[in-house]
Every structure is written in structure tokens, then in C-alpha cells.
């Protein structure tokens, strides 16, 4: 992992590697939910499973599609989704780019890759008007799968989670209970929820409650 700091004094924008070089304990947004037993208490029959994918690299890209497309393809090997609400993955599914708005995309990459990716993107994009914002500490990704995953979501989000409304390769920002989430469908048998750190405990408690009748479990 790069140790670089503020090397971009030339570029007018301060980039920042948030990760320490030493082995230091990190706590995911669901750490406290685990500590206090909210999650442990939920061992069920597992017709629905929630798995947290903590510590992934989350970058927000801002800019025009034309500006960003080539740089994203070059650095990430994934093209920008051509349609609103599109969600593209790389070949092994570990890196994704999602349309958030006409000038906003969410890139999720394996843990620790985000800083190097940001630097490469900035180098590619040069003087174009764009922005890259690291959001890795501010959100976490929950995977939801199992026979009744769709019913649990229907209790939670207003969006149409049927394949008609949310086919594979689509992601939407929508209402989740009394907060909002970024809901994605990376595969036929899986949904993803990108939730804000401060709301993560609420979202998981909600999912546990809504999924109780299906024996929902959280890993």
C-alpha cells in the first residue's frame, strides 16, 4: 500500500491516504452492533443471509461521462455504465462502477486499493474538471441473499425489487425504512445495500426484524 501523502501539491487538490502503514485495528460500521450482541442474537435458519463486506474502497467520481469514461476503463478495466442507474462489474466481480447521477459514479474496489486508484485516475484525467472523493470510511456494503431476500427488501424499501424493476446490473438510491440506501443487484441471487456508517446499525436491526420470520442471519 502506498505511503504517499499530499504529493499533489502541484495539482491544487489534496489527496490523502487514510490507511496507516502499521497494522492497526480497524472497526467496520457494524462493529458496535456485533459487540452489543445485536447480530449474534440472530442465528436463524438462514433463509436470508446478510453479509457485511467491510473496509472496501469506496470512491465517488464526479464529472461528465465523456470525461471519465476513458480514464475509468484504463485504470479499472470497467467502462462507465452508459445508462442511468447502471452498474458494471469487472470480470471477477470484485470491482464495480455505478451510476449515481448524471455526473456522479460510485466505484467500489477491494480494501486498500482506493488510494492508488485515485492517484491513477487523477493522473489519467489531468486538467479535466472532475472530482474524486474517498468515502471508504463513511459507508459499508451489505450483501443480501437467500430464498426470501426479496420479501425482506419489500418490507424495507419502496423501490420495486422484482426483476422488472431491479434487474441484474442496476443500482438505485432509494428509501430504506426511515433512511436511505443505495440498493444494487449485482447478480440474480444477490442484492447489495450500500449504507451510511452512522445508519448501519439501524439498517441491520431493521433487516433482522423484518427478516425474523425467515430466520434472517447476519455474518
Amino acid at each position: 500500500m502506498s505511503e504517499a501523502r499530499s504529493e499533489n501539491s502541484a495539482s491544487n487538490v489534496a489527496v490523502f491516504d487514510t490507511h496507516p502503514s502499521d497494522a492497526i485495528d480497524a472497526e467496520s460500521p457494524l462493529h458496535w452492533s456485533r459487540q452489543r450482541g445485536v447480530i449474534d442474537a440472530a442465528a436463524g435458519e438462514g433463509q436470508v443471509t446478510v453479509v457485511e463486506r467491510p473496509f472496501l474502497g469506496h470512491l465517488i467520481l464526479r464529472g461528465g461521462a465523456i470525461v471519465l469514461d476513458e480514464a475509468v476503463r484504463e485504470t479499472l478495466g470497467v467502462s462507465l455504465p452508459g445508462q442511468p442507474l447502471g452498474l458494471n462489474h469487472d470480470a471477477d466481480g470484485s470491482r464495480s462502477v455505478q451510476w449515481l447521477s448524471p455526473d456522479e459514479w460510485l466505484v467500489i474496489v477491494p480494501a486498500g486499493e482506493e488510494f492508488e486508484l485515485e492517484n491513477r485516475l487523477r493522473a489519467q484525467l489531468g486538467d479535466a474538471h472532475f472530482a474524486i472523493v474517498n468515502a471508504s470510511g463513511g459507508q459499508t456494503l451489505l450483501e443480501l441473499s437467500g430464498e426470501h431476500a426479496r420479501e425482506v427488501l419489500m418490507k424495507s424499501v419502496t423501490y420495486d425489487v422484482h426483476s422488472h424493476g431491479l434487474p441484474v446490473g442496476k443500482g438505485v438510491g432509494t428509501v430504506f425504512a426511515k433512511t436511505s440506501v443505495n440498493l444494487r443487484r449485482p447478480r440474480e441471487d444477490r442484492f447489495e445495500l450500500v449504507v451510511r456508517r452512522s445508519f448501519a446499525d439501524y439498517c441491520v436491526r431493521w433487516l433482522l426484524d423484518a427478516g425474523r420470520e425467515y430466520g434472517l442471519s447476519v455474518e
Binding site: 487538490v13 496507516p20 492497526i24 418490507k155 419502496t158 456508517r197 452512522s198 446499525d201 439501524y202
Partner: protein, 1017 residues
């Protein structure tokens, strides 16, 4: 008591499964498949309630959602109490406990019944308004007794053990009602490939087909229902929802469905052996298209004593006989104005009981059913109607008379018939409720003698709801509507649907008869009820029209017609017809009737769903929440955030250990920061990342102060106004790079400030190249502050903390406890302070490391209360507490933060030049020092100059922030005061609600370290 009204065979009940239940404390038996109403009728229970106003005995009148009287309080335990359940809609289960909603102290013998006997002269319409309104202060007392007497049901006093939830549904076609039209519509839409939801409020799908005399494809109609339901059930794209009432239709085809999932099994889900399951569910359906196939309600005729138990709607008689195997009496008189009702007489006779007569208002009825009745030997009296029922606790006879319907007079002599049941039918009222929920007015159809729904976008009508009652036509109409809805949703059926063969019957036309004329005037005749639930009589409506109420909307409000849980299902049209007759107008001229949600009552549980108890509202946690909990923090709600309020410590006094009070804890925390070092979790502050070549220009436009020269590495405080010049939010913004800034906002302002920036960027200045993104959750923010802060902080960071290298209002990058951090030298306490931003996942490590090193400095965690005291001592405002949308930067004494000479007309600038914002006597922020140091003024207390002035006193301002300062050893406050800055040293007065008056001196807003030397070391 035995089920002496139960037939030995027939109906859709299971006689092998006997169920036991209690009603008003008495035990009865029924069968699986019964409703509570059919079981009560089977047992010969006549009186099920007392009426609302006159306390008259009432029996079961109808068989479905239109039942106005048999309203029950259900539940064996306190926690399981459910009010206002219609006995006709409640499936019977073993152990069911029901009570009459109204009937205190008992339905049989009622202390209120004198009211009913003394009659209408004592309680005309408007009685409650007229009698109990004065004196107004007594209304609460009256209301309590009226409610107890009237009995509107009661909510449980114990916590509900059940689970409720919401399900968000989307479909191409929602079909409401699963009678012949609804089933036809669902089949045709589903076969076309549409995503279909079919809901029906009854226990079983099928509607009128379940008790029909008709055959489909030469088999009982119910057989076809079973086939149709099976076909739909097998389709993946179809959702079937029985026991589900469409109770509200909202804008753009948003429909709420109330599904009862265990109510038919027991009074709690656990009692049904289904613990943990949802008892009741609200489906929030967004439908592309809606097919409304809600059918029609049969209207009773209005005649004298038509409310005595034993009076029923004709169709209900058929339903009880054919569906439940119950004949609700021995000797029937049927009074009707149409052919369809003859089924009741035929069914009654086939059940082996006596049909005394059919009394038909029409002169020459000759339809097929009429002929069938005559052929069966039933006496048909034409040109006549039942004018009056006999009996008190149960019908004992009917007084029949020839009438002239158009002239509304009786024309012959009265014949008395001996009977115990009077069934009546005045025709049908389409169930237009849902179609009118968004305000669309139904249309009167003279040919149908009823209102049909007005046109609603995306809604299709099928069958009875638009006056198509014949079975063969209704099926065809359903298929048509389903296909049309599917087509509108983008699905085309392969071909026309084959419908089951049904007989087409010749009928003679229905006559327009609503109220039967009486030999006496309406006011003199025995009561002729229009609205049974609200005890509205024909006389009351007549009186209302005489008192000048000409619109049905006014008549309704005066008489209570159509109020309550009933919503006028049986009575509205009759009431309108009577009003129209009295006013010599047509029904549509008197008005139309519009209904509101909900169609039938919905339990609060279903409305609340999962949004209760610990999930009532989101709780937002910072990355350090765990530490706060483990270290005994008391929490304060700031928006949805849980913030530590203070950290009470154990204290030993008089040999006993106890927790500090809030006052003690806050005093200790304050002194620690002023004398040693304290630490605060400031992560909830809003943080916005701003990038782009025009970022600096943008800041200059949204902040009142200047940003052109802020260098990278520097931080500045900024004030934001709305364009009316009033302060909206404040915070610091750091220059991270020439094109890169980090803005902070108040905790509560985080989302609204970001939206504010986007609003201006997207609507006014899209040409500016800048992007805004929230990074509030990404960064955890830890503030270390106090005279010892540098010593402590230097132990854990590689940043050069030399005061010349790292000045006040600088920020630096480095490592804190090994974690990359941005550190800001800004201070909200007035002391030396370092505000540390680290990626939130590492926050706990950094925080704990600071404590490991902080022990020797007695590092003290402090909460929001101490933060407030410390900032107020420094005269630092909190936007939203010391400002309220009417305060300018000038009012706050922040002239230094207003860049009047900035080139661009920044937001708020123009308004600050208005004469009103330039006034010198505006309320200005000042400090207040109470004369008595022990006094802590109340926040919100009003300030006056003359404490002896008579009320109303001249109010000069109010206290915005007030605390006790352990440093000053005195209370102190911030306040806004008219012309305050010119009143320094003056004494002002704060009269309190308890009659005391506090005295305070007007002082500077800065109570501690006026020169600001302590933070700048």
C-alpha cells in the same frame, strides 16, 4: 343455547369442526367457516348492540362491510383488545371473545334506553352541539360520559404482543374485489402476462358467487370460483390476497391494502400457534393500472321501526342461508322495489321456513324471479310496501300498505302481517368509495338509481361498481376491464377470453323508492332509520332541510349521516334521496357523496408497521459510540444522532459511592478543559468536500465573508445566510488545496447545507465548475482541547506542534497514533485545541491511544452540555439556538464576518441593505449576567425593561442560551435584546411564570478570555 337457526345441510361451513366462542360473557358454539355474525344468528342472538344515540336494541342487518350495527370489541386479554370489528367480517375461531361495542352496562337492559324511549323530541339533530357546548369548559366532562354511554370502542391498555408490517408492492394491474367481475378481470389481465395483484376483503374469494343461486357451466358458481382461483394461484406473476381490504386509494394509483393474516385464527398470532408471524400487514401498492371490482351494496328501505332486530337487508338473508346454512328467523316478509331481492324469499322458502309475503312497491312486477316466487306459492303483494315494523326486542309483525311512490303517500288500508323477520331491498348502491378517495365525484345514473364512479386516471371499473349486476354481464365486463388494464400497462391478450356459461334473466325495472311513506308525517311516525350506526332518522334529515341545510354536505354534518366507521355504506343514498324529496330537487342537485379513506377501519398496528419501539426512528452512531456507552455516557438526541451529553463519574461522599449529577459532571468537565485537557467526539459535525476550479468563488457567494485569499493550510470561520439576510448556518472551512476545500456545518445542518449548495449550483450558477460531496460519515472528528492539549497531543503525533509552525486556524497533515490524520487548530472552547480527522474505521484506535497517553494529564471526556457551556462562555453562537431565522450577522455582532466590498452579490448581501435589516433597534446578541449568581435564567425567558409595567408588558427580547459557569461561579446567558449593544451595563428584568422576576446586567457576549489569548498559544 343450541344453534336452532342452523340448517342441517348446505352452506360453506364445516359442521364437523365445532368452535366455541363467547359474546358478552355468554358461551356459544359455531362452525368453522362461520363469521361471528353468522354464528350469532345461528344461535338466535337477536340483540348485538345498542344504538349510538338513542340506545335502541340493534341486531345484525347485513352480511359484509356494510354492516352498521354489529360492531364488536374483540380480544380475550387486555393486550389483544381490538375495537370496532364488524361481526360480519370476523371469521369465527375457537375461543373468540367478543363484546358489544355499545351497550354499557348490558345490551339487554340499558340505563341509556330511556333516551331511546323518550324519543327524538328530546334529542333532535344537533342535540349534542346545542346542549353540551356551553359552558365550553365543561365539554371535556360531558364528552367523557357521552363517550362511555355511546361506546366508540376502546384501545388496549396493555402493550400489543403482535407484529405488524408493511410490504411495498408494485404491479401492472391491481384488481380490487374477487367477485365475478374481479375474477374475470384478474384472469384476463394475468393471461395477458401482466403482473397482477388480486385482493378481496372476505375470507374466501368469490364474492357474490359464493352464495349465488346461479350456475356457471352448468355447475354451482362456487365450483368455477375454485377453478379460477386455482389457475391464478398457479401463476408466478399473480399475487392473491384474501382477507385483504383495499382501504385507501391515493394519488397516482397508490393503494393501501390491509391484509389480516392471523385475525381469523386467534386474537394474537401466538394464540394461533404462529408466534413471530405478522398479524396484520399493510400493502403499499403502486399499481400501473387498477381494476375496481368492488361490487355494490344493497340499500335497505327506510320505514318505521326498520332498526328493530329482525330487520335485514334482503341479500344478507340469502348470504346467511346459502353460505352459512343459517336462517335468521321463522317467518319472513320481504319488502322490495326490484326483482333481485326475490332470491331472499326463494332461499328462505327452500330452507323450509315460512315466507309470509313479498311486498313489492311496483304495480306489475313480472320478471323471471317474480314469476318463480309466484309459482312457488309465495304471496306477492304489489303496489305496496312495509310501512312499519312491529316489536321492540325482535320483529313481531309488519304493517303493509299500498303506496303511491311518486306522490309519497299511502293509498290504502293497512294490513298487519305476522312475521319475525323483515327483509328489505331498495336497490343497489355501487361501492364507489375508492374511486372517490382522491376527490373525483361519483356521477348519478337515473337508470341505475345509484352513483357510479367518476373517471379516475389509470382506474378501470368492472361489474357492480358501475351498475352491471347480471352475472353473465358482470363476468364479461370483468374480462373486458382486465384486458383493457393489461393493455394500458403494455400487455396484450392473445385472444378473447372464454367465459363460463351463465343464464341471462329477464328482469322488470327497479322502482325509485327509498323511504316508504307513512300514514303519519315523518316527525310523528315511529323512527325511520337512515343511518343505523349514527342513529340518523328520516325525520332528522327532514328537520335539517327545514332548518336551512340545503347541501347534502351540510345535512351530513348537521345530522352525522355517513359518519363514523360506517361511512354511509347503507344510508348515504337514502339520506340524499330524502333530502332531495324535502327540497323538491333531484338527488344529484342535492349533491354527490364523496368518501374518504379508510373504507373500513384499519388497526393502528398495520399503519405503524415496523416503525415502532427501537425502530421508531433511526439512531445514528459515531464510530466512537461503543466507547461512550462503555464509559457511562448519558446521551442527548441531536437530530437522529446519539451524542454523549455528559459522562457522569462515580463519586464518593459520606462513605457512599454514587454517580455524579449532571450539574456536578458538567462542572467537572468544564474545569478540566479550562485547566487541563478534555476530549470531545465531534464526528457528527457536517463535513462537505468541495472540489473544482470555482470552489473558492462559490464559497465567496454562499458565505458572507471573504475567501479569495485563504491559502492552503489555513482555516476560516464562515457565516451563511439565506437571501433574506438571515443567518442559516455557520462553521469553519479549510483550504486543502487551491481547488479543494473542506466545509463543516452544524450537526443538524449537514444535509440541508449540502442541498443548499446544490440548489444554488444547479439552479443559479451551473457555470461554476465545482462539486460537493458529503464526507460526514467518512471522517471521525476528535477534539483535544485545554491548556495541556499540546503536551498530550505531541505524544501521539508526528506533526510539528510548534506554535509558530502550526498556528491557530492552521491545519496540518500527519499521523496521530499511527493513523493518517488531518489536524485543525480551531477552537470551539476558547482553549488551545486540536481537531483531529481520521478515517472513521480507525477512530476508536486513535481515541483509545489518546486516553492511554492522557491518563497522566487526567484527560477528561466531555459531552455536548459542557461543549455548550464552554462555547457560550466565549460568546460563540449555535446556529438554530441563538439564531431563529430572524437574526442577521450584524445582529450577532459579526460585522467582521461580512464582506460588503466583495465583488459578487453574495447570498444575503442585498437584504442586509434593506432599511429593516439596517435598523439600530433590532434585536442584537448580548450577554446577560444575573444579579444573583446562583440564578440560571430560563432559555426562552422574555426580557423587559420595566418590571412593574402592567401586562401586556413590552417585551424587548429573550434568552437564547443559558448555563451555569463553574469558571465564573455564576449563571450567565446569551440573549437577543432590542438595541442591545447600546445597553451595555443596563439592568434588565426577566419575569417568570411563577411570579418572580430575575434581574440581569447586559454585558459583552464574551465572558471568558475576551482577548482570545488562551486559544492562541
Amino acid at each position: 343455547m343450541s344453534q336452532h337457526n342452523r340448517l342441517n345441510q348446505g352452506g360453506r361451513i364445516d359442521r364437523s369442526r365445532s368452535l366455541s366462542f363467547t359474546f358478552n360473557g355468554q358461551r356459544y358454539q359455531g362452525f368453522a367457516g362461520d363469521t361471528l355474525a353468522s354464528a350469532l344468528l345461528a344461535n338466535g342472538v337477536d340483540i348485538v348492540n345498542r344504538s349510538f344515540k338513542y340506545s335502541r336494541p340493534r341486531g345484525i342487518i347485513a352480511a359484509g362491510a356494510d354492516e352498521p350495527s354489529a360492531i364488536m370489541q374483540l380480544g380475550a386479554s387486555e393486550a389483544a383488545q381490538v375495537p370496532n370489528v364488524r361481526a360480519t367480517q370476523q371469521a369465527l375461531y375457537d375461543g373468540l371473545v367478543a363484546r358489544s361495542t355499545n351497550g354499557w352496562p348490558s345490551v339487554q337492559r340499558d340505563v341509556m334506553s330511556w333516551v331511546g324511549r323518550l324519543g327524538g323530541h328530546l334529542m333532535p339533530p344537533g342535540f349534542y352541539y346545542k346542549t353540551f357546548m356551553a359552558p365550553a369548559s365543561m365539554w371535556m366532562t360531558y364528552e367523557k360520559w357521552i363517550r362511555k354511554g355511546a361506546g366508540l370502542g376502546r384501545s388496549p391498555a396493555a402493550s400489543d404482543p403482535d407484529i405488524y408490517d408493511h410490504l411495498n408492492q408494485h404491479c401492472d394491474v391491481l384488481v380490487i374485489g374477487a367477485g365475478p367481475a374481479g375474477l374475470g378481470a384478474a384472469l384476463s389481465a394475468a393471461r395477458a402476462g401482466a403482473r397482477v395483484i388480486l385482493c378481496d376483503e372476505q375470507e374466501e374469494m368469490g364474492g357474490s358467487l359464493l352464495d349465488s343461486r346461479e350456475s356457471l357451466d352448468d355447475a354451482p358458481a362456487a365450483d368455477w370460483v375454485a377453478k379460477a382461483v386455482a389457475e391464478l394461484d398457479a401463476m408466478e406473476s399473480v399475487t392473491l390476497l384474501p382477507r385483504t381490504t383495499a382501504n385507501g386509494y391515493h394519488d397516482h394509483n397508490f393503494v393501501t391494502l390491509h391484509e389480516r393474516r392471523t385475525e381469523h385464527l386467534a386474537d394474537t398470532a401466538a394464540g394461533a400457534g404462529r408466534e413471530g408471524e405478522v398479524r396484520s400487514r399493510l400493502h403499499r401498492v403502486r399499481a400501473e393500472q387498477v381494476v375496481l371490482a368492488s361490487g355494490a351494496h344493497e340499500r335497505p328501505l327506510v320505514y318505521a321501526n326498520n332498526d328493530v332486530p329482525g330487520n335485514m337487508v334482503a341479500g344478507a338473508v340469502s348470504t346467511y342461508i346459502r353460505r352459512y346454512g343459517v336462517v335468521p328467523g321463522q317467518k319472513l316478509v320481504l319488502t322490495t322495489n326490484n326483482d333481485h331481492a326475490y332470491r331472499a324469499a326463494l332461499d328462505w322458502q327452500e330452507a323450509g321456513r315460512d315466507v309470509v309475503a313479498v311486498v313489492d312497491s311496483r304495480a306489475n312486477p313480472d320478471g323471471e324471479l317474480v314469476q318463480q316466487a309466484r309459482d312457488s306459492g309465495i304471496r306477492v303483494i304489489t303496489g305496496s310496501a312495509v310501512m312499519e315494523g312491529k316489536g321492540n326486542q325482535r320483529v313481531s309483525g309488519a304493517r303493509v300498505v299500498a303506496i303511491d311512490t311518486p306522490r309519497f303517500v299511502v293509498t290504502g288500508s293497512i294490513e298487519e302481517l305476522d312475521c319475525d323477520t323483515i327483509a328489505s331491498s331498495g336497490g343497489y348502491s355501487p361501492v364507489v368509495h375508492l374511486a372517490s378517495h382522491t376527490g373525483k365525484r361519483p356521477q348519478w345514473r337515473d337508470d341505475l338509481l345509484g352513483f357510479v364512479p367518476g373517471e379516475v386516471k389509470g382506474m378501470h371499473y368492472a361489474g357492480g361498481v358501475q351498475g352491471i349486476y347480471a352475472l353473465d354481464e358482470s363476468l364479461a365486463d370483468g374480462a373486458r376491464a382486465g384486458a383493457e388494464a393489461a393493455r394500458a400497462g403494455g400487455f396484450e391478450a392473445a385472444g378473447a377470453m372464454t367465459l363460463p356459461a351463465a343464464a341471462s334473466r329477464r328482469e322488470s325495472a327497479t322502482e325509485a323508492l327509498y323511504q316508504v311513506p307513512h300514514e303519519k308525517t315523518s316527525l310523528r311516525a315511529p323512527k325511520q332509520f337512515v343511518d343505523f350506526q349514527n342513529d340518523v332518522t328520516a325525520a332528522a334529515i327532514e328537520l335539517a332541510t327545514r332548518e336551512g341545510f340545503e347541501s347534502i354536505e351540510h345535512v351530513k354534518r348537521y345530522t352525522a349521516l355517513g359518519f363514523g366507521t360506517d361511512q354511509g355504506k347503507l344510508g348515504n343514498i337514502n339520506g340524499m334521496a330524502i333530502a332531495a324529496r324535502c327540497l323538491h330537487r333531484s338527488i344529484p342537485e342535492v349533491g354527490t357523496t364523496v368518501f374518504r379513506p379508510n373504507y373500513t377501519p384499519v388497526t393502528f398496528g398495520a399503519i405503524v408497521g415496523r416503525h415502532c419501539r427501537e425502530l421508531f426512528d433511526p439512531e445514528r452512531y459515531t464510530a466512537l459510540h461503543q466507547w461512550h456507552v462503555e464509559n457511562g455516557a448519558e446521551f442527548e438526541d441531536v437530530g437522529q444522532w446519539k451524542r454523549p451529553w455528559y459522562f457522569p463519574q462515580k463519586r464518593r461522599a459520606d462513605g457512599q459511592e454514587r454517580l455524579e449529577t449532571m450539574h456536578e459532571a458538567v462542572a467537572r468537565e468544564c474545569l478540566a478543559v479550562r485547566q487541563g485537557v478534555g476530549i470531545l467526539d465531534a464526528s457528527t459535525l457536517g463535513k462537505i468536500d468541495i472540489q473544482g476550479p470555482d470552489a473558492r468563488e462559490f464559497l465567496g457567494r454562499v458565505y458572507t465573508n471573504k475567501w479569495a485569499k485563504l491559502a492552503p493550510g489555513r482555516v476560516r470561520y464562515g457565516v451563511m445566510c439565506k437571501d433574506d439576510g438571515m443567518v442559516m448556518d455557520d462553521g469553519t472551512t479549510s483550504c486543502l488545496g487551491d481547488n479543494h476545500f473542506l466545509m463543516t456545518t452544524t450537526t443538524g445542518g449537514a444535509a440541508s447545507v449540502l442541498e443548499w449548495l446544490e440548489l444554488w449550483h444547479q439552479t443559479e450558477w451551473p457555470e461554476l465548475q465545482v462539486y460537493f460531496n458529503s464526507v460526514t460519515d467518512h471522517w471521525a472528528t476528535i477534539t483535544v482541547t485545554g491548556p495541556e492539549a499540546r503536551k498530550l497531543f505531541s505524544e501521539v503525533t508526528d506533526i510539528d506542534l510548534d506554535r509558530e509552525q502550526f498556528k491557530f486556524m492552521d491545519w496540518r497533515e500527519g499521523r496521530v497514533a499511527g493513523v493518517p490524520a488531518r489536524v485543525f487548530r480551531i477552537s470551539f472552547t476558547g482553549e488551545l485545541a486540536f481537531e483531529i480527522n481520521v478515517q472513521a474505521n480507525y477512530a476508536l484506535h486513535v481515541w483509545k491511544t489518546l486516553f492511554a497517553h492522557g491518563e497522566k494529564y487526567d484527560l477528561t471526556p466531555y459531552g455536548t452540555e459542557t461543549m455548550h457551556v464552554l462555547r457560550a462562555e466565549k460568546g460563540l453562537i449555535i446556529a438554530g439556538q441563538d439564531t431563529d431565522g430572524s437574526v442577521t450577522p450584524e445582529d450577532l455582532g459579526m460585522h467582521w464576518a461580512v464582506g460588503y466590498d466583495k465583488p459578487f452579490a453574495w447570498i444575503g448581501k442585498r437584504a442586509l441593505n434593506r432599511p429593516d435589516t439596517a435598523r439600530e433597534d433590532r434585536k442584537q446578541l448580548v450577554g446577560l449576567k444575573p444579579k444573583d449568581p446562583k440564578v440560571v435564567l430560563e432559555e426562552g425567558a422574555q426580557i423587559v425593561l420595566d418590571p412593574d409595567q402592567a401586562i401586556p408588558m413590552t417585551m424587548m427580547g429573550h434568552v437564547t442560551s443559558s448555563y451555569y459557569s463553574p469558571v465564573l461561579e455564576s449563571g450567565f446567558a446569551l440573549a437577543v435584546l432590542k438595541g442591545g449593544r447600546k445597553r451595555m451595563g443596563e439592568t434588565v428584568y426577566l419575569p417568570m411564570s411563577n411570579g418572580t422576576t430575575h434581574e440581569a446586567e447586559v454585558v459583552s457576549t464574551i465572558f471568558v478570555d475576551p482577548k482570545g489569548e488562551r486559544q492562541n498559544v
